[in-house]
Amino acid sequence: MPRWGMAADLDRCTGCGACVTACHAENNISTVGPYQAMRGRAKHWIRVERYWEGEFPDVKLKFRPVMCQHCGNAPCEPVCPTYASQHTEDGLNAQVYNRCIGTRYCANACPYTVRFFDFFNPEWDKPLHLQLNPDVSLREVGVMEKCTFCVQRIRGAEIQAKADETPLKDGDIKPACAQSCPAQALVFGDLDDPESAVSRLSASPRGSKLLEDLGTQPAVTYLSRQSES
């Protein structure tokens, strides 16, 4: 059984936002328009956090792509009264939309604030409604949604590998964000396979987890910039 995880190399991240766009397209994430976005209703399963450090003109700009960390010990899971948020055997923090009744407790418990609530039924400006991904279910009003590590791609690749009777190879599965990252800052794979790219990157001395002290055991490792390590 694999244990899926990701490594994000902050030295490579240019903050371009391709991952955000790709994620929206792949996962049928509806856009809410500027007014609702201003009111805090925007949904970005992955976001590029920008932090400025220092005083002008001596300013440093830092980027950090943040998505669901798929915690091994996820605070969102025990609080859900209906098992909408639960752990899969392969280490994914799954969100079952049809079970969700919208208590939003998971979103409060999540220290990374990477869970998003559907305040309205999804809508797309024409012609965007024609490009919806048939592999990903739409979410109706009143449920929580979040990064799935593109579970539809994982399951698709697993089924294909089984049909072909070949084992899954490292790099066979790429979530939309990792696939579209021009600098290849995001690497996805099996953390239980010591030879996989993500395992080797995660073991790097540059690696650290986000808010590690909270004991959430995230599956995402951030590699700090060389200049700082």
Binding site: Q36, R39, G40, R41, A42, K43, R47, E49, R50, Y51, V66, P75, P78, V79, C80, P81, T82, Y83, R99, C100, I101, G102, T103, R104, Y105, A107, N108, A109, P111, Y112, T113, F116, F117, D118, F119, F120, N121, E140, V141, G142, V143, M144, L210, L211, L214, T216
Partner: protein, 451 residues
């Protein structure tokens, strides 16, 4: 003042039941209209989606959960206070118990509505209940929300029993006085009460059992409500003090709610003979004790956080202490601590009903603010600065939260029309009670009411 005779008690307390003035219809129409408007607003929200409220990313809980905790807190007025007073055999409780127990039942019913109203998909609320479903799934028993569901249902069931049991002898009195349809209804409600010694004995036994049983239930309910917060890794939420802190706050606001309700009853139903200043004074003393206890808990919580100096917690700490939430925070401290301490600490103001009511109004407002200040500043200021946010309630939430106060008043008015709001047999009890009354020395030590 001499003790009213039994026939006097009957005629005074049955008057609201048997005679209806135009003012009753006006009250019902007024509060009923507000409640209907609130219900309509809720349908509007359910139809258009949760986006019509001010809830946003990252402040996912706001007015509704604040009001939920507030009303569950108010519900501790009755059953808990009346059970404690029954157990310590405080004789002055007799005219107070029923108006307190009614608050419990209605406040619980209203409070329990809020978690449903706040759901993204409220039509699926029954998924919290464990029943054999086509989904082949139980609720997640690890979730504090499921504990809430059970705790509130248990408390509601217990409180309804606790309220209904001592109403049986009074129903029998109404049955004997009423005619027509009303007689039939009260005959049914009185459950064949004849007032035999055996029946009195059983009622007393049942009440003693319920008074003991309801206490741990009441304490657990608000502890579990506090778990909704303290079980999540959110700065300033994860606190070991939340259980007792919430229970103390609940009793605090409950007493305040009771004092306000009693003052209105006394005024509108002309119950000056029964609800005397001494009752307000005694409840005022309880309010004073709880104000001090509340102050102790808040001081404790704040000081420990300050010395712990955990960065994420300190951000929320300063936010409430001297940044954007400071005006609300210090209003809360004044309302919950300074005002009741002064008004209830000084004998002169404690002995006036106006003093008690002013202090209670402050406490009710302050306790609502307390819950708001626990929920919103923490959610808007979790760990990652990128995800900081603000919350402003929208009109929808204000209307719905406000309408529940009208709902409480409406239910109370309707109840006082159907049931004697003061337990009649308990006022007359020394004649009836097979145990020949309670020990007179406890009576004296807890403040003599009836000369």
């Amino acid at each position: 003042m001499s003790r009213p005779s039994d026939s006097q008690i009957n005629s005074d307390l049955l008057k609201p039941l048997l005679h209806t003035s135009w003012r009753f219809y006006l009250l019902v129409a007024f509060f009923g209209a507000i409640v209907l408007f609130g219900v309509g607003t809720w349908f509007y929200q359910a139809y258009h989606g949760y986006g019509v409220t001010g809830i946003n990313w990252p402040v996912f809980w706001g007015f509704y959960i604040t009001s939920f905790v507030f009303w569950i807190g108010i519900s501790h007025a009755g059953t808990l206070i009346s059970a404690i007073l029954r157990l310590v055999q405080a004789e002055w409780r007799r005219p107070v118990t029923r108006c307190a127990e009614v608050i419990t039942v209605f406040a619980l019913m209203i409070g329990a509505l809020f978690p449903i109203m706040h759901l993204g998909r409220p039509w699926l609320f029954f998924w919290l209940a464990p029943y054999p479903s086509e989904r082949l799934l139980w609720p997640n028993f690890r979730s504090p929300l499921v504990w809430d569901f059970f705790a509130i249902n248990t408390y509601l069931t217990g409180s309804v029993l606790f309220l209904l049991l001592p109403m049986i002898p009074d129903f029998a009195v109404v049955r004997d006085k009423a005619t027509g349809l009303r007689k039939k209804i009260y005959t049914l409600l009185a459950l064949g009460w004849r007032g035999t010694p055996k029946q009195w004995h059983r009622l007393e036994t049942a009440m003693s059992i319920m008074a003991v049983v309801i206490l741990p239930v009441a304490v657990s309910v608000h502890t579990i409500v506090s778990f909704d917060f303290s079980m999540a890794p959110v700065p300033m939420w994860q606190s070991t003090i939340f259980g007792p802190y919430f229970v103390a706050g609940a009793i605090f606001s409950g007493i305040a709610g009771l004092i306000i309700a009693m003052a209105f009853l006394r005024k509108f139903l002309h119950l000056e003979t029964y609800l005397q200043p001494v009752h307000f004074e005694n409840l005022g003393k309880l309010l004073l004790v709880m104000a001090v206890l509340w102050g102790y808990f808040v001081f404790n919580e704040r000081l420990v956080t300050y010395y712990g100096n955990e960065p994420a917690e300190m951000a929320v700490f300063w936010r409430t202490q001297r940044e954007s939430f400071a005006p609300l925070y210090w209003t809360m401290v004044v309302c919950n601590f300074v005002v009741p301490l002064i008004l209830m600490g000084i004998k002169y103001t404690r002995r006036t009903i106006a003093g008690c009511v002013v202090a209670s109004l402050c406490v009710v407002a302050g306790m609502w603010l307390e819950r708001f200040l626990i929920i919103v500043p923490s959610l808007g200021h979790k760990y990652l600065p990128y995800a900081y946010g603000i919350y402003r309630p929208r009109m929808i939430e204000v209307i719905i939260a406000g309408a529940t106060f009208a709902a409480m008043t409406l239910l109370y008015v309707l109840f006082a029309k159907g049931v004697p709001i003061i337990s009649m047999w308990e006022l007359k009890t020394p004649e009836h009670e097979p145990g020949a009354g309670h020990a007179p020395d406890t009576q004296a030590s807890l403040g003599e009411v009836r000369p």
